[in-house]
Amino acid sequence: MNEPHDQGIEDLLKKTFARVNHDLEHDLWPRMLRRLDERSAAVPWFDWALLALLALWLCFWPGAIPVLLYHL
């Protein structure tokens, strides 16, 4: 049992906001699976950063393109 504090406001709150008694109506696992799939398919930010660095490098030193292609 919690301690009473300010009965006037407590009563007002109880009359304004009724207690919630709501059960989950369906299984959320399919949504959880979708969430997991979305996140695993997402490309991490550092991969994008690496790609940006590579693009910059090739812009400034186009001569590096054949070297890159050779190593690929």
């Binding site: 407590e10 709150l13 009359k15 696992w29």
Partner: protein
């Protein structure tokens, strides 16, 4: 909310990242986590989204979970944090809302019809003005009448801190209501 003890073996498999173990835990605890969140956010659709968000956080943090601990209590703490982020506006503004409620669904339970509409609206406005940290405690302690100990465990704070937040929430509410011309 009943916090069932889990076999350590299942929790160890979850901590290792086995999806099957996570699914078992999800199915067992989704109802309890949802029940806790809906009391805080008072919107069943949003509570469903936050339940998925909570389990996403749980899954990400699995490597840090100690299988010797109570999974239910840990899940409730993470759920409380997710709900708190939502109240602060950190989740609801950015997240895509997956569940749209049916039009006939009453998201907030029907209040006592004896209370004048205007008074109710002022009280709601005053309540919404409370800082999220105080609002979550006030909702659980004063509206939902959950024991302080339970609230303290869920928010990972002391019982004394819960009492202090309830006291501060009531003081701020009284001040706001007074400014609106309401003297409870």
């Amino acid at each position: 909310m009943e916090l069932l003890e889990q076999p350590t073996e299942l929790l160890e498999r979850f901590a290792r990242g086995e999806l099957e173990a996570f699914e078992k835990l999800f199915r067992q605890f989704q109802g309890e986590v949802y029940g806790w969140i809906v009391r805080i956010v008072r919107d069943p659709g949003l509570a469903e989204d936050l339940t998925v968000e909570t389990f996403w956080r749980i899954y990400r943090a699995r490597a840090r979970f100690d299988p010797g601990r109570n999974f239910g209590a840990w899940a409730r703490r993470i759920a409380s944090n997710a709900a708190l982020d939502c109240l602060k506006g950190g989740y609801g503004k950015n997240a895509r809302r997956e569940t749209e409620l049916p039009e006939d669904f009453v998201s907030v339970p029907v209040p006592d019809p004896g209370v004048q509409r205007d008074l109710r609206e002022r009280t709601e406005r005053a309540f919404q003005r409370l800082p999220a940290k105080l609002r979550i405690v006030a909702t659980l302690a004063l509206v939902e009448e959950r024991p302080y100990k339970e609230i303290a465990e869920a928010l990972d704070i002391s019982t004394a801190a819960v009492k202090l937040r309830v006291f501060r929430a009531l003081r701020l509410l009284r001040k706001s209501l007074k400014q609106m011309g309401v003297e409870p």
